[in-house]
């Protein structure tokens, strides 16, 4: 029952590495962390010397029972918390954490429905945990990712998502800049793209959509127009427009 307490745990930054020019992977050692399922998030609380506190939610890229959790944070230039986590937090620094949180957006290997993941930008983070869990469980349920990003240099975890051992294939979609030789032009995901690049309603997939609020909104509406049932779509809006 320890998970149902009100307790904030202390996490100290154990490892960090840049993911893109604006994003960083940060791994915290969290004594007492009970483990988490893929899709869970954590609340991070920072306290200023004068006692002022801010809380933000972050998806967890790691999965399993260890006492370490990996987050992947994108810096919003005028943000209050994200620039600090990306640029200023140093190894050994501590933050307060509560979680794991949010069973609704979780994927569990014992689920039997085919899985379509659709990410916009940093919205790929919970799907990293899901594809990792899918690969390590040797799961045979179809799982695939459609990853929409501005430009090739904005990709989080590209090598990992492209590895031969990845059991969930990734379809890359670029909204502003495409790689050299790319067969399609840059542009936002359209209903037509979603129709050709995601599992069709006939397969009754469970579709998870994650990213900025506007992205999630547009994609979930498009999927419903394609014939997916609202209750087979799970969304995680990150905020923003």
């Amino acid at each position: 029952m320890s998970r149902r307490t009100n307790a904030w745990l202390t996490g100290s930054l154990a490892r960090a590495h840049p993911l893109t020019a604006s994003a960083r992977s940060i791994t915290f050692a969290v004594p007492g962390w009970p483990g988490n399922d893929p899709g869970h998030h954590v609340d991070v609380r920072l306290t200023a010397p004068d006692g002022y506190q801010v809380v933000r939610s972050y998806s967890i890229a790691s999965t399993g029972t260890g006492e370490e959790i990996e987050l992947a944070i994108d810096r919003l230039p005028d943000g209050e918390v994200s620039p600090f986590l990306v640029d200023d937090l140093e190894l050994g620094d501590t933050v307060e954490l509560r979680g794991p949180l949010g069973g609704w957006f979780v994927w569990r290997p014992e689920q039997t429905q085919p899985v379509q993941l659709i990410a916009g930008g940093s919205g790929v983070v919970p799907f990293i945990a899901m594809t990792r869990a899918h690969a390590s469980a040797g799961n045979s349920i179809p799982m695939q990712l459609l990853y929409s990003l501005r430009a090739p240099c904005d990709a989080f975890f590209r090598d990992e998502l492209s590895q031969p051992s990845a059991t969930a294939p990734t379809t890359w979609h670029y909204t502003r800049t495409v790689p050299p030789g790319w067969s399609r032009s840059a542009g936002r995901l359209t209903v037509k793209d979603l129709k050709s690049e995601t599992l069709p309603p006939e397969q009754v997939p469970l579709t998870y959509i994650c990213g900025p609020t506007g992205f999630v909104e547009t994609v979930s509406r498009a999927l419903i127009s394609l014939g997916h049932a609202a209750d087979n779509i799970r969304t995680e809006r990150f905020g923003g427009i």
Binding site: G35, V55, T65, G99, G102, W104, F105
Partner: protein, 95 residues
């Protein structure tokens, strides 16, 4: 726009319930829609969280966390059903 999903209430809801409220089903007092609380639309921060019905915008739940206290208002819910789904908040390794 700019709203989040009911899922984000899991943190603020911790300690208020003996289960993860975001995986439970509930019914909107106003339009009778039945949904998982994780499907609600949440307008968040800095004052607190307001969860609204995905269909009719009715205010379902308000959670305010401030100065070490939490307050909870569930005026917009007809009921909240705690079933096996509430086990969803457990990790597979079990506890």
């Amino acid at each position: 726009m700019n709203h989040l999903d009911g899922n984000v209430l899991a943190g603020p809801g911790m300690g208020l319930f003996a289960f993860d409220p975001t995986t439970t089903q509930c019914q909107c007092q106003s339009c009778a829609d039945i949904a998982t609380l994780g499907q609600a639309m949440v307008y968040g921060q800095p004052m607190g969280f307001v969860a609204r019905c995905r269909y009719c915008d009715n205010v379902l739940v308000v959670i305010v966390e401030h100065a070490g206290q939490k307050s909870l208002n569930m005026r917009g819910l007809r009921w909240l059903r705690v079933g096996d789904e509430a086990r969803n908040d457990r990790i597979s390794a079990g506890d």
